[in-house]
Symmetry: D2
Subunit: 348 residues, 4 copies
């Protein structure tokens, strides 16, 4: 059984669990008052080249929903892609944590929003229309839910469109490392330098075990968020075990190596099958996800051969590469698709 | 520095971290669809001698607030002790998750509520008074926030008072193992057989690392809670790392051994200082917490000598024993208190 | 100045205010325990040919948001038209009262949703996908926000699509009387007989003063809603003054006469200008609203001549007829548009 | 049947309904954009001798809960009397509108909070204790729920205790006019000059029909509240009918005359029965409410004779005087109590 279901079906990177085990030493003040969490602030501030506040949280849903609640009042509207994870997949978490805040889709391509479309949407809303939800924030999912990335100028353009109307900007970085590895830029350039106020910093999907984080660039957001995290049940008493994971994650570039690996496997698969007859990539493969539009026969064959993947419809399959997916596993997938596609080719 | 600040300043039990590391093997379906979580259901059902549903969550606050939200509508009133952790210490989490539900104090002794007082409170409220919050549920904190425990007949009496008005019953078991070790009864007798519908099952304070759990006895509560957990950001995608901790926690009686140890240390301290002049135990020491009402001099001396503890006022200190607090540490505390109390004795 | 801005800029029908004044007699139990409110239940049950529960509320927003909160859990999704008032115009009220519930647009024409599109949307969602918002309810706005009406078979088709997936059905009847007058059917046929569980019963836009109502057909919804209304601040202590308005509204067919009048004026205008060159009706004029897509010159001319209306863009104007808009006012509008359109015609 | 159940069982003052009817003239912009609402701002600013913002709302519960939500974050604690209406009687409305904010009782006498007790409570809470609800605001109910009033120096003392910890101050003035009539001071002295930020301005209990109001003294609260009112369904589209009531209410001192009348009747009753054997006033009668602790026989006799009142227990009855309760009705009550008490006297 070769597993392409999700990057969250995978193991944790051994380095991360080792760090967790090493943190099991002596006593430490609870709820983030420990040394590990203090160091975490420093290390992330170095990483992002500015003073940031890092809050470890249990899940990406918590990171997203609490971030949005921090940048939008309950009567606010948060603009995002129709396909954004916050819109399709978090069981109304944003509305819950945000006291009823509303998500509104903005047009764009392949899971991204388009800065121009955002600007037009905002132009149509005049200030003072109290009967409407009030424009409050913008979300970018980087990498997107179709496995594409915003280029730096695209992030900046969305950031500018938002800032010109005094909207806050949230980046859902569930696959932040994968996007960063793809763009080969600095974390700072992809975030606060481009207008991002607050970041859901993913770790779990890329080799983490039990935590993600919120990284706050805009210091005005910190105090409210700190207390909100408490009442949201997202502040571990033994926080050191979370902070230690996050430090190990970025230590010596581990996170980027893991992301480069899964990105490379995905690229290998895309190259191996993308031009086969009867096979279409739903979106450019820019990180570690591949969406294949193909024939039912090919997807049936993959299931028969024991490949695990998420079949969204008869003809659409999602394949996600984990940090430890191997080239051999990629080649097995490619070969099976090629074989299954062969009759189609032969029949042409 | 000897640390009596809290049981959450402690390490994790090595067995629990070993189990976590061992779970890092192969791929597994996300969000609780894995084998570890399936086994967890079975093991806890065995443990509680009935079919239960176990949901691992990140923190005790999440366990409590989500449990209360599951058993009270937003217009409900949840009765609890004035001193209950849900009332004093969770930053309005119950109100948040419960959509505005209200906590109302009921009288009792040493952090417990009294069944008679509860019954009287309920008698004064006539059905159909829509302008009031509607009686919905009762909370017992077992062990209580003053380190005492409800006897079995007390749990049952509260349960009966609640059931006679169709109220649900929640037990906050942040120190469930300590209470169980004290009463030396079965988990079933202390919960569902006494009327408990839903339990916050603590693990972190007693040797866990990053998770606690909600145990549901009343099957009607399961479906709503399952989806609520999603939107609350409390469902880890790599759930196996949480479930593995919880299984190790109860395996071979580990949890009870850990709780017996911290209980015994606390009893040793209570015995060692409880009858000194100028020293008073605020409540009977029944589990692993000691509340000392004493002179400012004695508490000053302890701080000077490097003991860490939570000083609630000039004359009140809380001392909590961890599973790995040693007899030597207990004796050091006793000796320091005795020495500091000696002048008082000499002066008598 | 002739006012076509909205039907809520208008007066109240004198009969309604007279009833309000007549209710000012003697003392009466508060919060709906009065005789007027008891009679209201009977009268509306007669009107709808079934036992209903009527709750007077202050505004249509309250009626809608509380109705939706009654039929959807906080993690629910409510399907509606993109153009539905609940989606565009109530400042996130549904998300607020519903604890974070989510509105999701469904395709359709002219402000209505299409039963087929709803069925397809629901088919794509498999039960048990806990990471998604859970399908809970459907909203129809009757008449729609573009001034069109669902035919009876269309209401039934939407109702059936909803019921086949156990979704509740809400009708936003802010202009219920206008729709009823148009279809010339019974209130029962347009609601519960077609699957509607709960109705926002509009009164204000059609001659009321200070209240609308929620009409509940599904008795399971009553108890929760009754207490929810309390904590929502929607239960007047002197309820008789609201109930009296609602009784006068339906007495002797007043409501239908008022709606017939505004519908007729709108039809007159549509006929008078609908076929002019450079003038297009954005949607069929089926009740008392006219959306004119036309040239900037024509809309400018109307503003210059002192007509008040809601100009949604340079080329789109909304004109709403009140119950007391006169034929003379309609003819003045028609004449001004004709004159302004004349050069266009001359230039052809 | 003589009715002492509540001041909300009464009629509206004819002047108020006349004003409502007179407002039924011409068209007017909806949602508060009308002339009546504009004048209302001016008139209340004159009345309060400072620039205020007035928002008419449907009920006192809405006024209270929305005011509290405006001055406390969801993680805030609002201090109030145990007996405060917001605490006992609004079905958790404050928790609902405030996203889970918490009410905490503070000691005091006869339904008031004591400034000293408030200060002590606040002293015990150190800044930065994120696990607790965060002190945010203070509520005074003026007149109180036991029919007493805060003297001006008491209002100021509570205000100062609040301000010294940067807490906001809300006054629940459901019976504001009664308190004002009693103290014979200016509205300004009883509110903003004493530290009040926001006021629930009651009208219904003192001769109004269908509206109360929120009066905002602190301009920072206005923008958020304005949009919050929209999503709360508390902004009537035909607002003029509410604003006209509120203007008539204060015109030519009507409100004070009405309050003086009900206060005087209550004083008459208190004088007539307060010193009878077997009769005790639960609290000084300072406005229009009388709480009689007496024998079951006396309360039984009153019920037998057809008096309507709220019997809180066998021996406690609440009697509320309306603006139109007559001296004859008072004397009838007095006589019946005297007669019923006579045997007790005879038996002495």
């Amino acid at each position: 059984m070769i597993d392409y279901r999700s990057d969250n079906t995978g193991r944790a990177a051994p380095e991360i669990l080792e760090a967790l085990v090493e943190a099991n030493n002596g006593t430490a003040l609870g709820y983030g008052g420990d040394e590990w969490t203090a160091h975490l602030q420093e290390r992330f501030s170095d990483l992002f080249e500015t003073s940031v506040r890092v809050f470890p949280v249990a899940t990406g849903t918590a990171a997203n929903a609490l971030s949005l609640a921090a940048i939008s009042p309950p009567w606010g509207v948060v603009y995002c892609s129709e396909l954004a994870h916050i819109n399709t997949s978090e069981a109304n978490a944003a509305g819950f944590f945000g006291g009823g805040l509303k998500l509104a889709p903005v047009a764009g391509t392949h899971g991204r929003i388009d800065a121009e479309a955002l600007a037009q949407t905002l132009t149509a809303i005049q200030p003072g229309q109290l009967h409407r939800g009030q424009p409050a924030a913008v979300n970018m999912t980087q990498a997107s839910d179709l496995g594409t990335v915003y280029r730096l100028d695209e992030v900046r353009a969305v950031g500018e469109a938002a800032k010109s109307r005094k909207l806050h900007v949230h980046m859902d970085g569930a696959r932040f490392a994968n996007a960063l590895a793809r763009l080969n830029c600095s974390p700072a350039d992809m975030t606060w330098r481009a207008g991002v106020d607050i970041l859901s910093f993913g770790c779990t999907k890329n080799g983490g075990a039990l935590c993600d984080a919120i990284v706050v660039f805009n210091p005005e957001l910190v105090d409210g968020l700190a207390i909100q995290l408490r009442r949201a049940g997202q502040v571990w008493s033994k926080m050191r075990f979370a902070s230690a994971q996050l430090m190990a994650y970025i230590e010596n570039g581990l996170w980027l190596r893991l992301a480069q690996s899964s990105n490379a496997i995905a690229a290998r698969i895309a190259e191996g099958v993308g031009t086969l007859p009867g096979v279409r990539l739903l979106a450019p493969v820019e990180v570690n996800e591949i969406f294949l539009e193909t024939t039912p026969d090919i997807l049936d064959a993959l299931e028969r051969e024991g490949f695990l993947f998420y079949r969204r419809s008869k003809v659409l399959g999602r394949f996600v590469c984990r940090f430890d997916t191997t080239e051999a596993e990629a080649d097995a997938l490619i070969a099976t698709i090629r074989n299954a596609a062969a009759p189609a080719r032969a029949a042409e």
